[in-house]
Structures are given as structure tokens and as C-alpha cells.
Symmetry: C2
Subunit: 317 residues, 2 copies
């Protein structure tokens, strides 16, 4: 099969052996593969590949089942897939628990753009932090791929959504998606604006925002860190956290085991797929590129010129 | 009624007005009142009294209902009580949701010794962190009032229990209560002994132990800080926490609202009372003192010469 292979800092299409499936896995013929920031980090050697995972980039895709193995699934079934790696290729082996239906009315490209972000945001904000109607939900980086999804999800669940972003233009994007409280972090301290008010915080910054996030937390609030763009080691005021009965979690989806991923995928389909199918959450696709332009896709991500997702078209390479 | 009143740094018995009950409250005639470290902090001005709470010391008691108000309870019913204050007195007003039955076979003194620690440890370790059979449970200060309860509760739930303490004698106390892994913190680094192994941590130290606690956490581990004997501000490595999908909570029971306390009390009675009644958890009473010796009780706590609880005998003062 064709797949993206890395030589030094170049990503090129090469012929490689197709993956073999194990018990409980299906072989999927990939039509479209989503591009994520983690792929960029992995290509730079900053994201160690979990044991047993494909060394090929790519954490999500959509396509059709080529070989159902022993799962009882059907050849030709259209599926979206949460991957531990291997999406930038013509074929990928996928544990059955990581298969999702294509949301009704979605193309392969749209489906491939939504799996990783939906599973990440729902598992952290819905399943872990328990966002509820009436909560105030603070989303950092509101105009990014995760942020745009999180704003729409928060509004669908009945939360008041506050966002931080670095420009009036980005904040306008957030406002159009439904955000209620718009904070330009270059001009305002979000901890002052939201002091003691944020019931749930979705954080992609890490250390740099830790003291402010604790200030912003409401009583019984829960902050979840899923990115570390502002560093790893920060000062935590446990006295302030205790006075609020606050909770801080930090998580990543990729290292979870197959059973845990299956649990998350099932809950995401139950809770998020209806919101995609009735357009309460819309996927934001910046551009599609052919598989051979994977390197260009990652460069665009790195340059910060992307608003929404990049998806690679794989079929036909 | 008689109650303990503070003059400068002296605690003396004086006649004060008995509390009036509001709708949903009962008036309890106190037979015995438990002494807690929070009382010591409050008497020194280091623990602000929550709005609306009695200024009188005392977070737990046992006695009989003197006036059931509009609750439908019966006059003369024997009860244990979780209090927001007011236990060092002949009478106290208690919201109905904070009444617990006296565990079968328990005296008033034994019942008054167990309410605060049971509700605190169960709400954090059972309800919040979800300790399960087979988990490794790290308890700091294993020989203290909270620690001795937590060891027994952890063993009852089927956990492997690790403890830290500062002397061989204290560790022997922990061993006799069932602790499996004994760590003298003066001789060993608990983070090295337990690296990546602690599914749940009950922490009373705070800042000083924060980096070590994060190292000790297992994948998907949950640490709960309920005391800050080692300071409030510490360094948190969010990168390490993220790699483990770890969670840190910090909580206190006293500031919770009436509905939240009622939820905790009900779950504690359901889950912990059977363990008290079949002696899987035994209360550790160091000594009983008359109400008028409340000052002496707090001095003993401060001097660190107490192993187990001090209970004040109130009836008959």
C-alpha cells in the first residue's frame, strides 16, 4: 500500500507493507485522514509513539471496511475511526471498539475531521468534568480546532461559554459559534474577568495559565489540561484550590488502552453524534489536501495559518 | 445553656443562649462532642467560620433530639451529627440531613468520635476518587486520626494500603491496622518506593509533597489533598500529570452547603456504618475529657501526643 514515510524532516509517499489485523480488529481502506497537532509533534520527535502503535502518522480517518476479520462486521461498511496511529496510509488496522458510524449526511472528509476532537473534548468535558446545563465553561484558544468544537458543544449542553483568543478576528469567530464571554488575552486577564466563576475549564496552555486558571475556577470547579503550549511546570496554590474544592486533571487520549478507548468512543457516539447530525455542532474544515502533501499540511499547522481542520484525501493516491 | 466560649487564648465554660432552630433543623442535646484539628486552627484564628455557622467550636457530636422542629423526627431519638460548628455546648441546632444513626453497639462517645473522619474520608476517597478493590491506596500520616480510619477503610474495600509516618512505632500502629506498605518518611522517599503505583492518594501535607505525590501517582490516579501541614504553594509538573492522566483535587467538608452535606452523610451511612457495626473499622479513642477541659484537649492535639481521637463528655456539665 501507499503510506506517508518520514525521511529526516521530509514526509514522502512510499510503498510499504499493508498492516495485518489481529483478533478483534478490522482492516479499513482509508478515504480521508484528519491532521492533528499531535502529528506535527510526532514528526518532530516530540511525541513518543505508544508501544505497539503504527509508526505511521495519523490519529483519525474515515473509509470502508476492507476485511472485517473476526469481528462480525461487514466488508464495505462505511466507518470513521479513532486511531493510535497509521491514518496517513491507504489501509489501517483498527480495533472494533474504535470504529464509529459516519454521522448521517457527513462525507468521508467531514467524518475524518471530527473523530479525534469529538472524542477528546467529550471524554474530558462531558465524561470527566461533567459539564452541565447552567455551568460556566471556559475554553482557551477558542478559535482553534479544539476550541471551535468545544464552544459549540458547550452551547449545545446549555452552558455559558467563555473563551480566550489573541485577536478581535478570532474572538469574532468564537462569537459566531455561540461564545458568550469573549476575552482577548493580550488586553485582559481572564482570571480577573472570570474570578471564581468557571465551573469547567478546558486548557491547552498548561503551566503558564495554571495560577490564573485556579483563580478563575468556581467552587467545585474542574479544570482539564490537554495541551502544554505554555510549558509543563507551574505553581499550584493548593490552599486556594482547597478553599474552592477544586479539581485539576491532565489527560491525553492516545495512551489509553483499547478498552478505555472503546468506552470513550461509545459515549461519544451516544452524546455527540446526534449534535453533529442535527447541525448543533458543525465541523470546521480549513482545506483538504492530497495524501502526498502531508508535509505541507503539517507546515501550515506549524505556521498557525489554519482556522479549522486540514484533511488528507487518501483514496486515489 | 453551658458552652465553651473563647476569651483571648482561654477556653472557658459560660452560660449562653441556646440556639434556635430553623425549618428543617432539630435541636440536639449533646452528650459527647468530638475534637478535631480544625477546632485548634479555629481557636487560633486560622480557620474562618463559614457564614451563618455557630461561632462555638465543634464539628461533630452525639446526643438525643430535644426538639424535632418541623422535621417529623422524634423527641428522644439518639443521633450522631455532622456540624458546621457548635458542638462544644449543651445544645446544638442541626439540619436534618446532617443527622446520622448511632452505629449499633456504639456509645455516644464512640459515635461522636467517628462522624467527621468518616464523612471526610469516605466523601474524598470513596465518592470523589472512587477507590476500588485491587487499587493501591497511599495514606500520608497513617498513624493520625484520619490515617488510622483511612487504613481500615482501604483494607475493608480491598485495596493495598501504603502509609507514610515518622517513626517505627507509628508504622507499627499502621501495620496492626492492616497497612501493607510501611514507609518511614525520615528514611525513605515515598515517591521512589511507590513510583507510578498509587491509584489513590489521601494527602494532608500539601505543597511540600506535591512533586513526590505526582511521581507516586499511577496511570489514571487521583490524589486528594485535605490538609496543608506542609504549605500551600508547590510546583506542579503538568507534563508528568498528563502522561499519567492524573487528577488532583483539594477539598474541605465544612464549607459545603446543606444539600451537599446531606448527600455525603447519606452515602457515608450507607457505605461506612456497616463497616463500623461489623468492626471492620474500629474507632481509636485516645481519651475522654469533660467539656470544661476543651482547652486542655486542644493543647494535647497541638503537642502531638495524641494517638486517636479526644472526645469531650458534655452531658452533666
Amino acid at each position: 500500500m501507499k503510506a506517508i514515510v518520514q525521511h529526516e524532516d521530509k514526509l514522502v509517499v512510499e510503498e510499504v507493507a499493508a498492516p495485518e489485523i489481529s483478533s478483534g480488529e478490522v482492516l479499513v481502506k482509508v478515504h480521508a485522514a484528519g491532521v492533528n497537532r499531535a502529528d506535527l509533534l510526532q514528526s518532530k520527535g516530540h511525541y513518543p509513539v505508544p508501544a505497539g502503535a503504527s509508526p505511521i502518522l495519523g490519529l483519525e480517518c474515515a473509509g470502508v471496511i476492507e476485511d472485517p476479520g473476526d469481528t462480525g462486521r461487514s466488508r464495505g461498511e462505511r466507518v470513521a475511526c479513532l486511531l493510535t496511529g497509521g491514518g496517513y496510509a491507504e489501509y489501517v488496522a483498527v480495533p472494533e471498539g474504535q470504529l464509529l458510524p459516519i454521522p448521517e449526511g457527513f462525507s468521508f472528509i467531514e467524518a475524518a475531521s471530527i473523530v479525534e476532537v469529538a472524542c477528546t473534548v467529550w471524554s474530558n468535558i462531558g465524561m470527566l468534568a461533567g459539564l452541565e446545563k447552567g455551568d460556566t465553561f471556559l475554553v482557551h484558544g477558542g478559535a482553534g480546532g479544539i476550541g471551535t468544537f468545544a464552544i459549540q458543544m458547550g452551547k449545545s449542553l446549555g452552558a455559558t461559554v467563555a473563551v480566550t483568543a489573541g485577536s478581535a478576528e478570532k474572538l469574532e469567530t468564537c462569537r459566531q459559534l455561540g461564545a458568550d464571554i469573549l476575552i482577548n488575552y493580550r488586553k485582559e486577564d481572564f482570571a480577573e474577568v472570570l474570578r471564581n466563576r468557571a465551573d469547567v475549564i478546558l486548557d491547552i496552555i498548561g503551566a503558564k495559565y495554571l495560577p490564573q486558571n485556579v483563580k478563575a475556577l468556581a467552587p467545585d470547579g474542574h479544570m482539564v489540561t490537554i495541551g502544554l503550549q505554555g510549558g509543563v511546570k507551574g505553581e499550584l496554590n493548593l490552599g486556594l484550590l482547597l478553599a474552592k474544592r477544586g479539581t485539576i486533571s491532565a489527560t491525553a487520549l492516545r495512551g489509553r488502552d483499547v478498552a478505555d478507548k472503546a468506552r470513550i468512543v461509545a459515549s461519544t457516539v451516544d452524546n455527540i453524534w446526534p449534535l453533529l447530525e442535527n447541525s448543533q455542532i458543525r465541523t470546521q474544515i480549513d482545506r483538504t489536501l492530497p495524501l502526498r502533501d502531508a508535509g505541507g499540511a503539517l507546515r501550515a499547522l506549524e505556521e498557525g495559518t489554519v482556522t479549522g481542520k486540514i484533511v488528507l484525501e487518501v483514496l486515489g493516491e
